[in-house]
Symmetry: C2
Subunit: 178 residues, 2 copies
DNA sequence: AATCCCATATTGCATAATGCAAACATGGTG
DNA sequence: CACCATGTTTGCATTATGCAATATGGGATT
């Protein structure tokens, strides 16, 4: 297997003045790089653990199953909202997961417009197993951090996400890239 | 534009015993969720700022241009390593960026095997402009954090990434999903 | 020199995810 | 009923990606 070294992606250093009276120029880049580099590691580890079984899942698929597992059955539009994708995207994902017998489509008798998507038994089993596999992998990494570090990391990241505030808008594709 | 609310993706709560004498069960999930949620925000913001111009870029394309800008011309295999993708993937990305006149292919006279990829003037301009746009967007978010928080976040994330250690292996696709 | 192996680039193949637009059905409201 | 909002579905186009196979060139060994 191809095993390249990891290289942090720094933003091009531009000799531009700092933003007017706000913060040092490099601060934003630094945070972006740190977060995205960490997330690439996490995504790689997750993808590996999700793929290391009989029923392999992609990360988006895993996310969909997790949503269904934790929030219960719902229609495609709602499902898409939870995943921050438009309905047609959720649609195709459901197509594939249904083909793999992980989810079911059940028309809602009282509202013939909508279709409820629910986990099959197989889907539930798979998502639980995948979760365990991933948990084990991640624990190996997180285990090297002190509880203080862990707590601080989570708290700060949540603050950061909170600061972002704005709901994830659509338009530019975000599957493609980090 | 579709504007769904952001929902943190929690791992399915499984009533399983904690890993034998290591750490609380939820710790790994908590960190994963925090990092991936933050990164989704960041990716969305980045994608938006990269797309908000005449010459739009995807995030992977932006990363490629940044590598070329900061490390100079190199062959396709090397380029792929910097981006953690196999050569054929780097190949197609170069195809597209070359079609958009952002990069050049120049055969190496002294080694007819390899082709050197370099930024065109347009490519350099675009990557610098894109960087500025993104920097401005991110600064708005990062600006709400105290310098202490920022520093702590970066330090902790770097520690985390360090702890991950292992180079990003290939196999399961990682474009698909976070 | 002939051989053999490794590094490179390149292309065919397949797949997932994604957004957008359009078509179509259903539910409510005025 | 006329209209509009809500949902599902499909056609279309694109990007990124890995894998396998092919072709070419560099070097080293015999």
């Amino acid at each position: 297997m191809y095993m390249p070294k990891r290289a942090p992606i720094a933003a091009p250093s531009s000799p531009v003045d700092d933003a007017p009276g706000d913060m040092a120029d490099g601060a934003a880049d630094e945070v972006v790089t740190a977060v995205l580099t960490a997330s690439r590691l996490l995504v790689a580890v997750s993808a590996r653990s999700l793929a290391s079984a009989e029923d392999t899942l992609t990360l988006p698929q895993f996310r969909m199953l997790v949503v269904l597992d934790s929030r219960g059955a719902m229609n495609i539009s709602r499902l898409g909202e939870h995943l921050d994708v438009i309905p047609s995207t959720a649609m195709r994902m459901v197509d594939r997961l249904a083909a793999a017998d992980m989810v079911d489509r059940k028309p809602n008798p009282t509202n013939r417009r909508e279709i409820f998507i629910s986990l099959t038994d197989a889907g539930r089993r798979v998502v639980h197993e995948a979760t365990e596999r991933r948990r084990a992998e991640i624990a190996r990494i997180v285990g090297t951090m002190s509880p203080d570090q862990r707590a601080g990391l989570v708290a700060t990241l949540q603050a950061f996400t909170e600061a972002g505030g704005e709901p994830l808008a659509h338009g530019p594709r975000t599957d493609v890239g980090w």
